[in-house]
Amino acid sequence: MTETVDIKKVISTSTSNVSLEDLTKKGFKRVKVLNQAVISKLIAQAVDTVLEERSKRISKEEREKVIGEARGHFETLAKERLEKERHRIDELTSSNQTLSSELDTVRKRLTASIEVQAERDQAMNRLEALENESTRVKRELIEFQELFSKKKTEVIGLQAELSAKTVEIERLTRRATSLQEELDAKGSKSDASMEKILAALNERLQAASQPADVSKIMLSLDTLSRRLSGMGGGGSGIGSGEDPELIKDYVLGSLFDKEKGGAVESNISKVKVKQAKAGDVKGALARLKKLQKGGEDGE
């Protein structure tokens, strides 16, 4: 192997430092100075010259020997290099195969994932559709139940109304007959107006067989009763002012009374109701009475 010469180091180790003062003492007044670069250059030139001279003197055998050695060395190096490259190619090929295999796997997975996603989307759509359907059916069921309940209530109400009206027709018919008899007895001239009112009453009672709000029925009966009361004039039974209340009571009775449909069984009257003592109201009562009397003491 070629050994390189560190010229700088050689100069440094083979020379000594002498101060200018010492040189002056030794009688040197002028010195020639060579820097390290120049020295290196000079050495290199000297070596090149020597080698050039030697190469002119080398024999053919030596040259061939050198060439042979160089070729051998080159071939060895080339073989090593080739071997290394082959090995590297093998490694790259193997790595490429692995990557290709992985790529295939990933592609397969991706395909499978896309298929699963599609199936999932399909299932979600189906689920959403089913939920919507379920909500719709539930809503329809609730609406149907409400309608059923409403209709049931209406039927019950109508049954009660019908029953009340039937009894009412009977009662009013009896009262009309009684009134007619009374008027006949008094020789009253008001037959025509009485008939008119009774006709209106009958018309209303017929209408009661149709669905109607209880409050409206109460109102119409009140009106009819008032008209009957007004017509009675000189102190007859109808004009006593009792009828509107009777009619109202009757309608309220039909609203609150379930006993007509069968006996009501209950233990309510036997159970003690929750009871509590509250703060007294004596103060509030006294103040209110005082206020009502314009500031006087209410007690």
């Binding site: 309940s149 069968g262 233990n267 009257s269």
Partner: protein, 353 residues
């Protein structure tokens, strides 16, 4: 009429008349709170003690059989058998609904008779009979609460008033309707000469009455109450409204909700209070005949919906958030929130001579 026979024969006595129930002597005149959630009656004995009887205004029907009938009787549970169905009424109905995970049926909805429960009227009559009993004498006065016309719903209270008036008359009383908010004024604002704002926070509605020296200057209702909270909480939590009511009544503090259910209750309570205050403010600002009060007035809240912990604090918070058109000196809860309306009706009854 039992003990009232003597009084009846002598005609209608005045408010000072004393009648007898067993050994107790009572003043004549009754107060009745006809609430969506509860029915309560009030009566005063001769010593001035006020007795309240209360029933939850609800029922539930179950299949009838002898065993059930016997068990209900043994357990002291009140029932009515109608059309082959056992109907459990009052508080036990509420408890039963929670056990069976069902909703109670309610004779009233939104402060008035429910149009969907016309079958419930005979039950309502029985409940009132248990609360009032027979009158001490024929035509004894009974002031009963009625809601004011609502500002946010399309119905009036004429039919409701007529039906309950008729029912009381049927029971032998002289019925006198009294606005629910006005009843709160009578029971809670005596110290202020019956001047201020009474709010009855009920199950079906909030009833507001602005009163000046006992005269109602403005009265109205809003169609949201405790039931509105229960319905909404039930919807968001996926539970029955009866269950939501039970959670609410178990002891919630609106200022410190402890779980998701209580947080939902707090949210809807705050919303309801804010809604009501905005409604009051708007109504004040748009009413022509509003009195101008010489001094700051008091607001008093009554009713079962106001009984939850932290109600007044939340009310105060929401009140501070709006510019209220009237100067208010204090906001407080009624002394007996659940009985306040019945007591107010009693005061009206006893003072009506």
């Amino acid at each position: 009429m039992g003990n009232s026979t003597l009084e009846s024969s002598l005609g209608s006595p005045t408010a000072q008349t004393v009648s007898h129930h067993g050994s107790t002597k009572f003043e004549s005149g009754r107060g009745l709170d006809v609430g969506t959630a509860n029915l309560a009656s009030a009566i005063q004995d001769k010593d001035g003690n006020v007795t309240i009887k209360i029933q939850r205004n609800a029922f539930i029907d179950i299949d009838a059989d002898d065993y059930t009938r016997n068990m209900l009787t043994k357990l002291n549970v009140q029932y009515v058998a109608i059309n082959n169905k056992m109907v459990v009424v009052g508080d036990p109905a509420f408890e039963l609904a929670n056990i069976l995970n069902r909703e109670t049926r309610r004779p009233m909805k939104g402060g008035v008779i429910s149009p969907n429960e016309s079958e419930a009227m005979p039950i309502e009559k029985l409940l009132l009979e248990t609360l009032l009993g027979p009158p001490n004498f024929e035509q004894e006065r009974c002031y009963f609460s009625v809601p004011a016309d609502p500002i946010d719903a399309d119905f009036n209270v004429v039919y409701h008033k007529g039906v309950f008036g008729g029912l009381l008359k049927k029971l032998g009383y002289e019925p006198k309707p009294l606005l629910e908010g006005h009843a709160v004024v009578f029971s809670e604002l005596a110290e202020d000469d019956f001047t201020g704002i009474g709010i009855s926070c009920g199950g079906g509605m909030f009833n507001v009455c602005v009163s000046y020296k006992s005269i109602p200057a403005l009265a109205f209702s809003t169609a949201r109450g405790g039931d509105w909270i229960d319905r909404n909480v039930a919807t968001v939590l996926g539970i029955k409204a009866s269950r939501a009511t039970a959670i609410k009544e178990k002891g919630v503090n609106l200022n410190a909700p402890r779980n998701r259910e209580e947080e939902a209750i707090e949210i809807y309570y705050r919303n309801l209070i804010s809604y009501t205050l905005e409604a009051i403010k708007t109504r004040f600002e748009t009413s022509a005949g509003m009195p101008s009060f010489p001094e700051p007035i008091e607001i008093v809240c009554a009713g079962g919906t106001s009984m939850i912990g932290g109600f007044i604090e939340v009310f105060q918070d929401e009140f501070n958030a709006i510019k209220f058109p009237i100067e208010v000196k204090n906001i407080r809860r009624a002394e007996d929130p659940l009985f306040s309306v019945a007591k107010g009706a009693l005061v009206a009854s006893l003072s009506d001579v």
